[in-house]
Amino acid sequence: MRSRRLAAAVVLAASVALTGCGRDSGGGQDEAKSVGAGKASGDITVWAMGTEGEKLAEFAKEFSTENPDAKVSVTAVPWDAAHQKIASAIAAKQTPDVSMIGTTWQGEFAKSGAFDPTPPDLIKKDDFFPGAWDTTIVDNTSYGVPWYVETRLIYYRKDLAAKAGFPDGPKTWDDLKAMAKGMKDKAGAKWGLNLQPGKTGSWQSVLPFAWSNGADVASATKLSFDTPEMTEALGYYQSFFKEGLSPTALPDGALEPGFVKGEIGAFISGPWHMGIVEEQGGAGFKDKYAVAQMPMKKSSTSFIGGSNLAVFKDAKNRDGAWKFVQWLGKPEVQVKWYQAVKDLPAVQSAWNDSTLSGDTSLTAFGQQLKSAKAPPAITTWEQIAAAFDLEVEKLCKQNADPAATAKAIQEKASAIGTGS
């Protein structure tokens, strides 16, 4: 048996060498199949990263209580190389039944044909935040279910904001700029607002400004970074660096201590930073800072991230896998999951629970999530994002012209293409 498989691999290598095959263009649309009724059964294998991977096994015991014939086996995967692991598993057709998938990987993996389309009879689109649901869509078909979400808000020091004249935080683009200036000039902060000067993931801070300015940068088939709205947003972003309000070379790990000491007045980040600054700030720091919605221009639109759950085509237990995914998406389970690992629910109705609705910082995130956006799930997004980050770095550190930056991003992105 083994030797036959080996022989197959050799033949495979040789045939690639000898023949140029050429892929089918287009290919048939996937048809979502329904999932049978009744309780789940059998072994369900799940991969999950980081904290989720560490905690899910214990958490899933309740699922097994409700479905006595089903057993969930979770493998925790380090974030460091999770993408490589999933890609390799797809190549070897050795996938688990379900895996947690970073939202920006969705396009690439779905396009490879590795995911099973979401059965609409089981999962209801409208239950989820629209921005989160969009991350599962590839070629008009949904290939997974949002599990948890996060979005970016403005964290600011209340005391410094008050001195700067914005006791309730910034509401508009002008507010944000004036607050940052005031924090630096009047409140004695070294930096008014920390913004990411390029580097991996800076697009997640820049695009909210572009979206808030009405720019529509990318759809599944079209890339349009070179627009007046985009240029204006880039110019606004750059002005914080030009005017010395934002640092261009803040060392790793210096943000949180700087914020705690009041040297940095504000920064943009996701919900995980609440825990970090509260831990580093010690007792009482929770009252010293607040979070604000992304400032308004034409709208207040932030970035939505998080992770989805996808079921693989090569799943051995498709039925059980989808039932497990459906269970994780129940509002009451989402609330419990928040309590277990602090992951924000992707299901809107879960936010009505008092656990979440009772906390003002959390409700700020919940509010922002309703309109938050994600880039479309195109296969080449990670590569486009990397090119984007490089141009933003030039914008912030070398004072590149915003219009030229927008043009350069567009050129590089079109060269990469959407991969469809």
Partner: protein
């Protein structure tokens, strides 16, 4: 290296290998026997080598002539053969060119720096005066065995512009230290120093071994001739150490051309792509799912490694 080694291998005693010429059939049988023995020894390795290494190399080489992307992984036969497109595209890829320059700088500065430091440490430890030699050996070797992720934590603290040890030392002598890792001109030099620091222990051990093999009477003779320590080093140590230097140079060159871990954990290739190396660029391309393109990049790197090794053999190797 094959020729170099053969040159100093002890000469065969003539009588041992040339007995009276046997008749043709006996000779043929003997040759067959020799072949069988040789391959009996080589077979276990060769089988494993072919299956687990050579075959993947062939597949990846083929891959470099196709437009295979990660989205094709379930169906790898359905790709297009694109000839040398990937290779030509590399040379108009600005990031690839930039990373080539960075890597070249890294190799040209890093290999000699590491070798000089390692040689200095080895010579000092070999000077015959030193007690606690094992302690020093292990101490200098420590960075070689430690995990790069943990080391990156330490180095980021060392190079921190405000509180880092390096800038605090500079402050003692009245210099206001720069922001090492965030300055596009200084980031690469910083990583070069870090790499030299990490690797000098390995080379030191190799050089120590080479130094111990230098016959002591050569030094005695030199001392009698009134040669200073420096003259002894130049005229005795260095020439005798040439083969070892060659080995060290080649191994370090192969490693440094694949410079990857330091930028990955310290700078992610920044700032402004100033520490992006060829290996890192290729790694990114694999990450983006451009498998064919990344494979082509790997084989360009392979050729560079071969070329560098050849040059080093020309420069340092013995002629024969």
């Amino acid at each position: 290296m094959a020729d170099a080694s053969a040159a100093t291998a002890p000469a065969r005693p003539a009588g041992a290998t040339s007995p009276d010429r046997p008749a043709g059939s006996v000779r043929r049988r003997q040759r067959l026997r020799r072949a069988l023995t040789g391959w009996a020894f080589s077979a276990p390795f060769t089988v494993l080598f072919l299956v687990s290494m050579a075959l993947p190399v062939v597949v990846s080489l083929v891959m470099s002539f196709t437009d295979l992307r990660s989205t094709d992984l379930r169906n790898p036969l359905a790709v297009n053969v694109v000839g040398i497109d990937n290779y030509t595209r590399l040379f108009s890829d600005q990031l690839f060119l930039r990373s080539s320059v960075n890597t070249l700088v890294f190799v040209i500065a890093g290999v000699p720096l590491t070798m000089v430091l390692a040689l200095a440490a080895a010579t000092a430890l070999n000077s015959g005066l030193v007690r606690f030699r094992a302690l020093f050996r292990v101490g200098f070797y420590l960075p070689v065995v430690a995990s790069i992720v943990a080391l990156s934590v330490v180095w980021r603290f060392l190079l921190d512009p405000e509180v880092g040890l390096v800038n605090n030392l500079l402050r003692l002598v009245g210099i206001d230290g720069p922001n090492w890792l965030y300055d596009a001109r200084l980031a690469l030099p910083s990583l070069i120093v870090m790499a030299a620091w990490r690797n000098l222990g390995f080379l030191m051990v190799i050089f120590l071994a080479g130094l111990q093999a230098v016959p002591a009477d050569l030094y005695e003779a030199a001392t009698l001739d009134g040669a200073t320590r420096w003259q002894q080093f130049r005229n005795v140590t260095l020439p005798m150490l040439r083969p070892t230097l060659l080995f060290g140079g080649v191994i370090t060159g192969i490693g440094y051309l694949q410079f990857f871990e330091e930028p990955l954990v310290m700078t992610q290739g920044g700032p402004l792509s100033s520490t992006l190396s060829v290996s890192f660029h290729i790694y990114n391309q694999f990450g983006f799912g451009n498998y064919g393109y990344a494979a082509a990049g790997s084989y360009v790197l392979f050729l560079a490694i071969v070329a560098l090794s050849v040059v080093q053999f020309r420069l340092l190797g013995e002629r024969n």
